[in-house]
Subunit: 202 residues, 2 copies
DNA sequence: TTTTATACTGTATAAATATATAGTATTTTT
DNA sequence: AAAAATACTATATATTTATACAGTATAAAA
């Protein structure tokens, strides 16, 4: 999905606020009043930009004809939290799920299938701490440098991944930890997913 | 609650249908069209009856200004995201809100009033990066060592806070940044809230 | 470099809309 | 039996509202 500009976000937010508060979408003039614009065309053009980006739809020829597209279901997505130790086997089996949390699926760039609770300090230099919840998008695809959940023959680990031909490099972000080199000719390794975000509880 | 007549129920149903289908309430004319009335006043008087029975409210002087009363509370926890630059003034004013995200309120230890989008690298050594969203619980209370949103005379900043008598220490987590010392006898500073969590989007 | 997108002000107007007024008729409540 | 509510048609109009057109200016993309 295309990113919204700061102003477009404000307009979108203004629409949401209006619907929540009054029960119906705002007029151009109301958007202008709330955001301090002096011309109705300021609102109009932002609305058209949002429409172009498929965020809202505008019913032609009717007042307040704005509706927000792909509204998520009320409860939002419930996403399981899994301990890193357990991530190896049947990842999403219920016995591995520590809890479920509700998150806005639109929060992260890609769909989040589960949160991985981080153990150890191997990624600490890049701001990933013990007990942080790393949002994982399940996929076997990755680009070099992605943060990946990798299942090796005897472990599951969260590292930066680099692949060159049959050689896999799993690189930690901690100088006290050594990178892991895997030769796919001799050993097996599978990418379970990539990290697309992080949640930390203080 | 007073009972609705058959016609009033039809009109109410028509309103609900319109909101579900289009995202906004109907006009008088649209109600007439759907229910086969030939005069806009037919719809009007039914609406006034529904208003009198406290089923709906009608916003005077605005089109489609119908809203159905006692609706369920809106989506779970919708929490605004605010840029650090804007955090100073009218913090939660709509023009400062970049977007809203839905989060599980139980996710963090304390109630989250807003997310602060981090600017700069002053907390990078403790895993708080630029554009991270720090979950802020609005309060003026704090303990020494808390991560606090502090409004000084000319800035708003996110730092570790330590207070001893009239002296305030705002400590960054980056050796390239100097701690800020504030003598409350000479300068003013206010704690706007404390950080209770963090969300990062990759 | 040119084009496209963003981000507005300012003015104007056709169309959409709420809303008042004047009726008629039936049903329900007091 | 009278008053009030219901349930409409019909017409009119002030206001709201969407929307087009003409500009200016800046930033980003091609």
């Amino acid at each position: 999905m295309k990113d919204l500009t700061a102003q477009q976000s404000k307009v979108l937010n203004c629409i949401e606020e209006s619907i929540n508060k009054t029960g119906f979408p705002p007029t151009r003039a109301e958007i202008c009043q709330k955001l301090g614009f002096k011309s109705p065309n300021a609102a109009e053009s932002h609305l058209r930009a949002l429409e172009k980006k498929d965020i809202i739809s505008i019913a032609g020829g009717s007042s307040r004809g704005i509706s927000i597209k792909n509204k998520k279901s009320s409860s939002g997505g419930s996403v399981p939290v899994i301990g890193l130790v357990a991530a190896g086997s049947a990842t999403l089996a219920s016995e591995n799920i520590e809890r479920e949390i509700n998150v806005d699926p639109s929060l992260f760039s890609k769909n989040v299938d589960y949160f991985l609770k981080v153990k150890g300090l191997s990624m600490i230099e890049d701001g990933i701490y013990e007990d942080d919840l790393v949002a994982i998008h399940k996929t076997t695809d990755f680009k070099n440098g992605d943060l990946a959940v990798v299942r090796t023959e005897d472990d599951v680990t969260l590292k930066y991944i680099f692949k060159e031909n049959h050689k896999l490099l799993l690189k930690p972000a901690n100088k006290d930890f050594d990178p892991i080199h895997i030769d796919l000719k001799n050993e097996s390794a599978e990418v379970e997913g990539i990290g697309v975000g992080l949640i930390r509880k203080n």
